[in-house]
């Protein structure tokens, strides 16, 4: 019945592409989370009036973040080809998409991290200092836990953007649902393939949104 309605869909190809998209997205989300938090912390801590107040470092970090945030993703992929080959050794397969995905998304996420950290009550940081907390204590026991709901809702938004980036990364041969929809669906005029690939992507996005919302609520004790 289903095969009659969707005659051109090869389900094992579809499943494989789904797994590739999931793999690219999840790996990129994890790396973006880590790199984004590091960059966000650097932006926050070097800002005026904060722990590591440092104008030059703040200005440089902010400039790098803004530049990478502004480059359209499709161009970023092309610019990063030599870097990717150096790092991964190839431009084919899901792994080749990951450097571009992370470098494209981390600056975007870093700004959200910075905003989240700014929301942390200065009084609480001061209370920790008055107890003799070190800088690491303040980062890992105050700043990050207190901004966790913001960090999680930020990574949720970022991960949904990442799913759509993976579709573009298909263009350079990274595979995944976007690649499948383009080659099998669009180029061969199999609109049923495009349709199923779209539904698969939507399902992934909805699940990510749901997990993100659930975790945000769970960590938010305000």
């Amino acid at each position: 019945m289903i095969n009659n309605l969707l005659p051109n869909v090869h389900w094992d190809n579809m499943w494989e592409a789904t797994l590739e998209t999931l793999y690219m997205s999840i790996a990129a989300v994890i790396l973006t989370f880590v790199l984004g938090i590091i960059l966000g912390l650097l932006l926050y801590l070097t800002d005026k009036g904060n722990l590591w107040q440092n104008k030059p470092i703040h200005a440089i970090t902010a400039a790098v973040v803004n530049i990478f945030r502004s480059i359209p993703f499709i161009i970023l992929i092309i610019l990063l080809v030599p870097f990717t080959i150096f790092l991964v050794g190839t431009m084919l397969g899901p792994n080749a998409a990951i450097p571009a995905l992370v470098i494209g998304a981390a600056p975007f996420y870093a700004r959200m991290v910075e905003i989240g950290l700014r929301e942390v009550d200065k009084g609480v940081i001061e209370a920790a200092q008055s107890m003799g907390a070190s800088q690491w204590h303040i980062i890992f026991k105050v700043l990050l836990p207190e901004s966790m709901p913001a960090l999680i809702s930020g990574i949720t938004v970022t991960s949904i953007a990442l799913v759509s980036y993976t579709a573009m990364a298909g263009v350079i041969g990274a595979g995944g649902l976007g690649d499948l929809a383009f080659r099998e669906g669009y180029q061969r005029s199999n609109s049923d393939v495009t349709f199923v690939a779209t539904v698969a992507i939507l399902i992934i996005v909805f699940i990510m949104q749901w997990i993100g919302d659930w975790m945000t609520n769970k960590t938010d004790k305000r």
């Binding site: 009550d121 009084g123 609480v124 001061e126 209370a127 920790a128 200092q129 008055s130 107890m131 003799g132 907390a133 070190s134 204590h137 026991k141 105050v142 836990p145 207190e146 966790m148 960590t219 004790k221 305000r222």
Partner: protein, 342 residues
Amino acid sequence: MITLKKLSKTFQTRTTSISAVDQANLEISQGEIFGIIGYSGAGKSTLIRMLNMLERPSSGEVILAGNNMASLRGKRLREARQEISMIFQHFNLLWSRTVAENIEFPLEIAKVPKADRQKRVKELVELVGLKGREDAYPSQLSGGQKQRVGIARALANKPKVLLCDEATSALDPKTTDSILELLTDINQKLGLTIVLITHEMHVIRKICHRVAVMEDGKIVEQGPVLDVFRTPEKKITKEFVKQVIEPEETMETIRELLGKDDGGTIVKLMFMGENAEQPVINELIRSYHVSVNILQGKVSKTRDGSYGTLFVQLEGNDDSVKEAIQYLKGQQVEAEVLEDDK
């Protein structure tokens, strides 16, 4: 315990420089509750924050528990800070942690082993009266309960000094009293030295042994609380003392009477102890030809005894009133004839 020597702090802004604390000298002894009172902007917060180097002094010295605080940096400063705790007007709890986890926080910082931490948390929860609320989050607590968590957290590492920056200013009068009681209790039980700043004189009256008055960054007056209540010297101190002993409504009535021609003579009596005024009033009525009309009386309890004020209206012919006043001035009570100051 704490010595401040010519302590000053100047804030440099783009246009001006603000002298927030100006040459403050202070000596606070072990086990004492020392109050610092002043209006908003007097520099109280800046002063207390210099005691644990949250604010670095521009000049002068802070000697606390034998440490010259300004000379400490890094690890040594962090260790010294574990002996000086602080509680805050807005509590400054971590909302992401439960009551028990908030109290555990300073113990984690001091690298106390897990088992000891839990034992200590249990003691502290009981000490501050929060048993049963260990697993609540700060957002589920009332202001008074939050401050109790703040106090428990501050006591976790068995500090020598507790600094209170307007610790009751965000609380209603009843809750304020319960927190002040808790502080007195801790002071007695643990022999902890407490420095508290406030703009409310009744806080000073209720729990402090000694008080310093701050105005424009300077300490303008200091002494035992009872002495300051009895003989305030500076204008600002008198204003603060009035807050407690002369309610505004009474002053209005008195001002009205003073404005009238037939308002009689109004005398303000000040006395020590709860009943010190009674024999004097009795004698006044018995032996002098005046009628005594009591307008308002109030006894203020301080830690070192009570101190009262009584406003009376004397009516009679001029000579009798004069004699009566003569008599009053010769007694244990202090008497002041109020004049119409309009």
